[in-house]
């Protein structure tokens, strides 16, 4: 029997498939299609201290092999998240990772303190790489020292495992992963969307209401894969791969490059059955190779 269990710091996931932040609502967006509990973990939409309305529409635009979004981190805010969303999530028997986002450094610490007191949260994922907001996010994620400070603050205030989400856009994720590791992060997630833009030619205006947005989907897969490969060589903490993973083969490639788990975003929106299909393919493939455990696959890319 093949074991798909994968350890991310203190946390053991029953399999390496995670639903990525912002693409599965507050973790339960696909309850009509599959039980979240079948996933290794689910990550909530990014939560901020105050509720955020998000950016003006249009917020979604398709591009070659990918899509842009400029949601602008619309969310209900931490209070309502705790009172209304978390209770539902607790019922789902899934590992719950809460993605948090702040405009100022202190915001992360405050969010950590609030969420650290709640039951049913298995880890915090720090969004230090959102291209869709003016302040915070990407800015912090480009400066090693800020990354370190924020990770440290969140870790000490919440007591929860801290995952740091980085982007291969305009910063070097392997370098930043080192800072995150130093500060005690238990995993880095690579990559968030890449900053991008589309234009409506006939109307001579930006296609997105937020002008620029974040590129996700198959188009960015090679970029994310390179970053994961390099980060996995740069740090000892687990790297979680994310970016354009749409098939079992894609997921197997990220694991081969050194990721200990993968997050799925765009793929699930395009096909709610994708997570289960991908899980099945991983099982079949690794069993076909006669492996006992996914550990025998992770990071075994031939160096040459």
């Amino acid at each position: 029997m093949l074991s798909l269990e994968t350890r991310i710091g203190r946390l053991v996931l029953k399999n390496p498939i995670i639903l990525a932040s912002g693409t599965c609502g507050y973790g339960d967006g696909y309850r009509d299609f599959f039980p979240a509990g079948q996933m290794g973990a689910v990550v909530t939409k990014g939560i901020s201290l105050k509720p955020r309305a998000g950016n003006a529409p249009p917020r979604i635009w398709e591009t070659a092999g990918g899509m842009l979004n400029s949601i602008g981190l619309e969310n209900v805010g931490v209070d309502k998240f705790i009172s209304e969303k978390l209770p539902l999530l607790r019922k789902q028997k899934a590992r719950v990772v809460v993605n948090i986002f702040g405009e100022r450094r202190e915001d992360y610490a405050k969010l950590a303190e609030r969420l650290g007191k709640e039951d049913g949260i298995n880890a915090l994922e720090l969004n230090l790489s959102c291209p869709n907001v003016k302040k915070g996010g990407l800015e912090f994620g480009r400066d090693g020292r800020s990354v370190k400070q924020i990770v440290w603050a969140v870790k000490s205030r919440s007591g929860l495992p801290v995952w740091v989400k980085l982007s291969a856009s305009r910063s070097d994720p392997a370098e930043l992963a080192r800072w995150a590791e130093e500060a005690g992060a238990e995993a880095v997630v690579i990559s968030n969307t890449l900053r991008g833009m589309a234009i409506e030619l006939e109307k001579k205006r930006p296609a997105l209401g937020g002008i620029t947005g974040g590129l996700s989907g198959p188009a960015i897969k090679p970029v994310a894969l390179a970053a994961v490969y390099e980060a996995a060589r740069a740090v000892r903490i687990p790297v979680i791969g994310c970016g354009g993973i749409c098939s079992g083969r894609d997921a197997l490639e990220f694991l081969l490059a050194g990721a200990r788990a993968v997050e799925l975003g765009t793929a699930v929106m395009a096909n709610p059955r994708a997570p289960l299909e991908i899980l099945r393919k991983i099982k079949d493939y690794l069993s076909g190779l006669g492996l006992q455990s996914i550990e025998q696959w992770i990071g075994t890319l031939k160096p040459e």
Partner: protein
């Protein structure tokens, strides 16, 4: 219940210029309300990535036939227009809230702009079965080749057609025709509208100022269609945003902040 349905393409009909009627055979039954929609997976290779939202058009539960009417607009609908009969197609739905029709009575005006008729057809049929309602339709299109099944519709309802080029019916926009109708025949009890945003926006003015209760089928770009991505934002009259795939696509005129609606 929301689900993924693997369907067989039963048949295709060209019903006008770039207009198609797609008939699917479902594997099981489905409960659909007028105003609800499905996401159709048209993907070939990695493009187009996302599903395409289409209102269901007609449903024949006994034969398990679900129909969609669509216009070729871009890549996705183009691919859809050349899929083969007998082929497979995955659809997700039914999605969205559907129109609110409880307690409806009296003169009801349905206003369609172009392909918007696809979103109102099922509503018209449902209201047509309601003995308390008198259904009237205003349907505006660019040119008469953009009408589809107009004869069939006209047999069953009072239809006021309008064409921008004057090739059939009243020359001008659907909204202008609505204004005339209101001037001549008074306010209807309820308005339902579906069409391009400029039409809906312009319709919102008399609807709101004259306090005619009404709902629109609001089309916004979608990624998931199921409320998971917050992509389909609609400016809400109270500030912030509603979400077309969850709170809508059927929304009351007064739920929307039309000032912030970009056309």
């Amino acid at each position: 219940m929301k689900g993924i349905y693997k369907c067989k393409i039963n048949n295709y009909h060209r019903i006008g210029d770039d207009l198609y009627l797609l008939s699917l055979r479902l594997s099981g039954r489905v409960a659909v309300k007028p105003g609800q929609f499905f996401m159709l997976r048209v993907r070939e290779g990695s493009e187009p990535l996302l599903g395409r939202p289409l209102s269901w058009f007609r449903y024949f539960p006994n034969r398990r036939i679900l129909e969609f009417a669509f216009q070729v607009m871009g890549k996705g609908t183009e691919i859809l227009s050349r899929r083969r009969e007998g082929g497979d197609l995955s659809i997700i739905g039914p999605l969205g809230n559907g129109f609110e029709t409880k307690g409806l009575r009296g003169r009801v005006l349905l206003v369609a702009g172009g392909m918007g008729m696809a979103g109102l057809w099922s509503l018209a049929e449902a209201l047509g079965r309601n003995p308390n309602c008198a259904v009237e339709l205003v349907w505006g299109v660019k040119s008469k080749s953009r009408f589809f099944l107009l004869k069939e519709l006209s047999k069953r309802f009072k239809v006021h057609p309008a064409t921008e080029d004057g090739s059939l019916g009243k020359a001008g926009l659907a909204t202008e025709l609505v204004k005339e109708l209101i001037d001549q025949e008074g306010l209807p009890e309820h308005i339902f509208a579906c069409g391009p945003k400029p039409m809906l926006k312009s319709l919102s003015k008399p609807a709101l100022s004259k306090k005619i209760p009404g709902q629109v089928l609001y089309e916004e770009r979608m990624a998931c269609g199921v409320g998971a991505c917050l992509g389909c934002a609609v400016p809400a009259s109270g500030g912030g945003y509603l979400h077309a795939c969850l709170d809508g696509p059927a929304l009351r005129f007064d739920q929307i902040d039309w000032e912030r609606v970009r056309c």
